[in-house]
């Protein structure tokens, strides 16, 4: 019962945020800064395409500067609020053909489904449902980071606007987010986040993360923000884990929002068949 109340409460806040964001367009030069929730909502409702296909190069760098690069082709499509992603590895040669499929359900309490096709085993294997705070494919991003893709979650945090700063020559709002409750904090693995949100296109340009013990955990930089087929797109995302010294660089190319991806594409059969 209490849970339900919370849900309703949360939804109300979100709705209110959206309403405020829509009704009160941001007036440049005004003294008062938009509220944290307004900014978060703006990022959340930003269009990121119904579906997208692109090349993703993942560069993993350890604390000694050794790096490992993996090139993939990735596909993502919304099925209502459900989100499906398929990743096909192209290099290095020993993982070529390996493919990864995720069904991400809108209800945070419902485990996602994940499969991996291992060509050397010639089998598709279901793998553990990931927690939102789990690291994604050996990178320094968590599953939740990947899912949000340069958006702020309006459900998990309460935000406060703390100022305006210039990042990469662009004006940004600085917001600080605190998890709505302890449980969410533990699930996400963050006790605090700070984001620099572009005042013009609502893309996040920089992020800072603190772990549950309050230690500075990660910094992300979002660079190369361009409009691709009229959709604001980040082509470079870098993250540095301050605790482990690891770094991950994501580089996107051949981004395509217009070619419609078939619903049937996101199946285990496609994993086996490959591209």
């Amino acid at each position: 019962m209490k849970n339900l109340k919370n849900q309703i409460g949360k939804s109300a806040v979100i709705l209110l945020g959206i309403l405020i964001a829509l009704i009160r367009p941001f007036a440049s030069g005004s003294q008062s800064l938009p509220s944290g929730m307004e900014i978060a909502t703006k990022t959340d409702i930003r269009n990121d395409g119904e579906n997208v296909s692109r090349k993703l190069t993942m560069e993993l760098i350890d604390k000694r500067g050794k790096s490992r690069t993996r090139e993939t082709k990735t596909f993502r499509k919304y099925f209502g609020k459900e989100r499906r992603t398929a990743i096909f590895y192209e290099t290095p040669s020993n993982v070529k053909g390996t493919a990864f499929l995720v069904y991400d359900y809108p209800d945070v309490n419902e485990d996602d489904d994940q499969w991996l096709y291992l060509p050397a085993l010639r089998k598709t294997r279901r793998i553990s449902a990931s927690n939102r705070g789990d690291y994604f494919l050996g990178t320094d991003f968590t599953y939740e980071d990947i899912k949000l893709e340069s958006k702020l979650s309006v459900e998990d945090y309460t935000y406060k606007t703390v100022g305006k700063e210039m990042i990469d020559g662009k004006e940004t709002y600085v917001v600080v987010g605190l998890p709505v409750d302890k449980e969410t904090e533990k699930e996400l693995g963050y006790s605090k986040i700070k984001a620099w949100v572009d005042a013009e296109n609502w893309m996040i340009r920089k992020g800072e993360f603190w772990d549950v013990a309050g230690n500075h955990l990660k910094t992300t930089y979002i660079k190369d923000i361009k409009q691709v087929q009229n959709i604001w797109t980040a082509l470079t995302v870098q993250v540095k884990n301050h605790k482990t010294g690891h770094k991950t660089n994501f580089t996107f190319s051949e981004v395509d929002y217009t070619t419609v991806i078939d619903d049937d594409f996101f199946t285990q059969q496609t994993l086996v068949r490959g591209l």
Binding site: L60, D62, R64, K66, R68, Y89, N94, V95, T98, F100, Q114, W115, L116, L118, P119, A120, L121, K123, T124, R125, R126, I127, S128, S130, D134, Y135, L137, G138, T139, D140, A213, N215, K243, T244, H246
Partner: protein, 794 residues
């Protein structure tokens, strides 16, 4: 008639006594100055301090640790007699981990327990990488799932959970920034466990990090409690010897000057206080007190013989007679310490030798300048027990009686000594070189109990780390490389002293099994390099990027095999180390893959081996240095040889006692020979010097000379030995094993040195009449000597 030397000495002390105020002022300023450095003294309680910083084995160990993020762990063991797989115990394991994260100095990201590790399981259609349990979903049925999971995961069985399922370890690591706070962190963890409510569980705290972190504090605490008591006992004996205030105060100021300057100099030069540095005050007290006893004894002797002389004349007379033995004892001791310092492999021992030698030099300067100056402040004073020039007190009578025995049956004395020596040498052959840090704790100490329990239940907390190196990046995906590692592990696990081993191979086999519907026949290394590469990719979908950090490097080129044993003694480590080395050389290394040993086992092996190799060399060199300096000082090689005899005797006795008592030659006990030499030589020098004085200078015939020797020097030496052996005997009351051994063996070594100097050495002199003594015995009837019929005490 005075010799030229005496006239010069007289002139010198004439000058000294003239400037006594200046000298006293300088003496006080020097002590005060040295003491101001003391607060900047740093402590180094680490085990690594005992190994030279540039030692290749230490550098390699650090490199392996850095590559794989390994550290000496702090371990909490959770023991539940009826098994740990129940909601309550699993919850406790989780909670202990969470609370450990809040202990200052503990790395919250490097916690390992059943509650933090990921399980790999096979399902009918896939593989899961997930925590063994989540605290939120914990109930009796999940607890039994955890039991099954551990039963199916070799890697954690024995290393994290005991084979019988009654003990689980929670392993924490210390942050680099808190490396020197091991003792505080240990105590904080103990406190944490004491505050934890348990019903069916017992908690134990141990681990190599705790042991080495806490050991130094543990020893220091008792040493710092008992060393002052030793000082007090020594003071008491000084009082019994002289029954005057100055007879007590002056030697104590000597001690303050020597100990203060040596420790002050250490602090000033930025040299840390190590565990063995606790022995430095001890040795300096011994030397400072000895100089004081001999000079003050001579002073009271002069007062008794020359009533009515002015204080200045008395002081000059005393110093003219005592400067030489005091100088020679100091020079020989310095030579001995510098020789030990020069040959030592361990930096703390090197520093010990240097600063002990420095302290002894200060003692010499204070003996020659400060004592006469201090006496100048005072009026002539009679010491009650020494007031009579002819008669002596009970102690003097005792030594005189001893003298009679020596003179009446010198052959018997030498014979007994020779037999004792042979026995000691036989005992010395039984000495084992060994070291075990945990044995420095009293066996009932909770950390020792914990170590025992953990080692009995699990695969053990002593590690041999084997660093595997392949030629190319991702070389460890090669089945050939993995099979070699598997064979190496198998070979070592067959060794009776090895309880288990872990490596990346265990994960590969586990993943292969899991991805093949959990079929047991797939618990093998797959024969496909590409498949292995893909296993690691699949693992990364569920695990953390750092999960394998302790096992492989980022490039999958280097791997660490951790071999566990429950015996932490060097003798056992040596066997395993050598077996591993042999296998690696004969069966492992090839062009594609090589292995090198590291970890605690390899480090101890190097360290204690070096100790064993250098120790006898150091002792021999120290003896040689003492011989050379004594010979030069007495301007006679023969006198030098005679001086060394009691020292050799004392050293032999020490090793003999160690051999018979089963005391290992270890880091701590390797100090004993140095102390036996440093202190023993003082007794011998006094004997030889006084013999020269009475026979060559006072021109006494041998019988009268011996009589005088036993009455005066004998008495002084007796108090010297009483002060030191009773003083350090206090340490025998310590419950800390190394201190107890230290106290007992210092007492033994001092007593042996004393006994040899006052019995064997005079007996040999009496028998052989060496040329450096111009003995003009009226009854130089060789026949009568042969018969041993001499009766000198008429």
């Amino acid at each position: 008639m005075k010799t030229k030397e005496e006239t010069q000495a007289e002139r010198f002390f004439y000058a000294v006594t003239q400037r006594y105020k200046l000298i006293l002022t300088l003496s006080v300023i020097f002590i005060a100055g040295a003491i101001t450095f003391l607060p900047s003294m740093t402590k180094d309680t680490t085990t690594e301090a005992f190994i030279p910083k540039d030692d290749p084995v230490l550098l390699y160990r650090d490199n392996v640790r850095e590559t794989f993020g390994l550290k000496d762990p702090m371990v909490i063991a959770v023991y539940n007699e009826s098994g740990i797989y129940n909601t309550e115990t699993l919850r406790l394991i989780h909670e202990l981990g969470e609370r450990l994260k809040t202990v200052e100095g503990i790395d919250p990201d490097q916690l390992t327990s059943l509650a933090t590790e990921n399980n790999i399981t096979g399902t009918f259609d896939g593989m899961l990488v997930e925590p063994f349990y989540e605290i939120e979903n914990l109930n009796d049925s999940t607890a039994s799932i955890v039991r099954d999971a551990i039963a199916d995961f070799d890697l954690y069985r024995g290393s994290l959970i005991s084979e019988d399922g009654t003990m689980a370890l929670v392993v924490a690591e210390i942050l680099d920034s808190h490396d020197d706070k091991g003792d505080e962190i240990y105590k904080a963890i103990v406190e944490l466990t004491e505050e934890t409510n348990t019903t069916n569980e017992l908690l134990y705290v141990a681990g190599e990090g705790a042991v080495s972190g806490y050991m130094a504090t543990y020893i220091d605490a008792d040493a710092q409690r008992l060393n002052p008591i030793a000082g007090l006992v020594i003071t008491l004996i000084l009082f019994v010897a002289f029954r005057t205030l100055r007879g007590v105060v002056i030697p104590n100021i000597m001690v303050l000057a020597t100990v203060g300057s040596a420790l002050g100099a250490m602090a000033g030069f930025g040299v840390s206080f190590f565990v063995i540095t606790n022995a430095l005050p001890v040795i300096l007290i011994a030397i400072g007190v000895a100089d004081g006893i001999h000079i003050m004894g001579q002073y009271y002797e002069e007062v008794a013989h020359n009533p009515g002389l002015s204080q200045r004349k008395l002081v000059i007379l005393t110093m003219t007679k005592m400067w030489r033995p005091v100088t020679i004892t100091s020079l020989t001791t310095i030579a001995g310490f510098l020789a030990i310092s020069y040959t030592s492999y361990m930096p703390p021992m090197t520093y010990f030798g240097i600063f002990a030698a420095f302290g002894v030099s200060v003692a010499l300067v204070y003996a020659l300048f400060f004592i006469p100056s201090a006496l100048m402040l005072l009026k002539p004073q009679v010491s009650k027990p020494m007031k009579d020039a002819v008669k002596s007190d009970a102690f003097g009578n005792l030594t005189s009686k001893l003298g009679k025995v020596v003179v009446s049956s010198p052959r018997r004395v030498v014979g007994v000594a020779a037999l004792t020596m042979l026995l000691a040498i036989y005992g010395a052959t039984k000495i084992t070189v060994n070291e075990s840090r945990i044995s420095n704790f009293k066996s009932t100490e909770s950390i020792a109990v914990a170590d025992d329990v953990i080692n009995a239940k699990t695969d053990g907390t002593t590690y041999l780390d084997i660093k595997i190196e392949t030629k190319d990046i991702e070389g460890l995906f090669q089945p050939h490389a993995l099979r070699k590692i598997e064979a190496l592990q198998q070979h070592l696990e067959d060794h009776p002293l090895v309880n288990g081993s872990t490596s990346i191979v265990d994960f590969v086999k586990k993943m292969n099994k899991s991805l093949n519907e959990n079929r047991d026949e797939f618990y093998v290394i797959p024969n496909d390099e590409i498949l292995i590469a893909q296993y690691f990719l699949i693992y990364s979908t569920g695990g953390d990027p750092t999960d394998f950090d302790n096992y492989v490097d980022f490039d999958y080129r280097l791997a660490n095999v951790r071999v566990r044993m429950s015996q932490s003694e060097y003798v056992d480590e040596k066997v395993v180390q050598e077996a591993a080395q042999k296998y690696i050389e004969e069966h492992f290394n090839d062009e594609q893959i090589t292995a090198n040993l590291s970890g605690k086992v390899a480090l101890d092996y190097q360290w204690i081996n070096q100790l064993a190799n250098n120790h006898s060399k150091g002792v021999l060199l120290a003896l040689l240095a003492v011989l050379i300096v004594a010979s030069l000082s007495f301007r006679s090689l023969r006198a030098g040889v005679y001086t060394v005899i009691p020292v050799i005797f004392g050293v032999a006795i020490i090793y003999g006692v160690m051999g018979f008592a089963g005391v290992w030659l270890s880091v701590g006990t390797s100090m004993f020979a140095a102390i036996a030499i440093g202190v023993g030589v003082d007794f011998a020098v006094h004997t030889v010097d006084r013999m020269i004085f009475f026979i060559n200078e006072e021109k006494l015939d041998i019988d009268t000379a011996f009589k005088a020797f036993y009455k005066t020097t004998g008495r002084a030496l007796l108090f010297n030995v009483l002060a030191l052996s009773l003083g350090f005997g206090v340490l025998i009351t310590s419950s800390v094993p190394p201190l107890l051994r230290f106290g007992a063996l210092v007492a033994v070594s001092v007593s042996a040195g004393f006994a040899a100097s006052i019995t064997v050495l005079p007996a040999i002199i009496y028998l052989l009449k060496p040329k450096f003594l111009r003995i003009k015995d009226k009854r130089t009837d060789t026949a009568s000597i042969k018969k041993g019929e001499l009766d000198l005490v008429a």
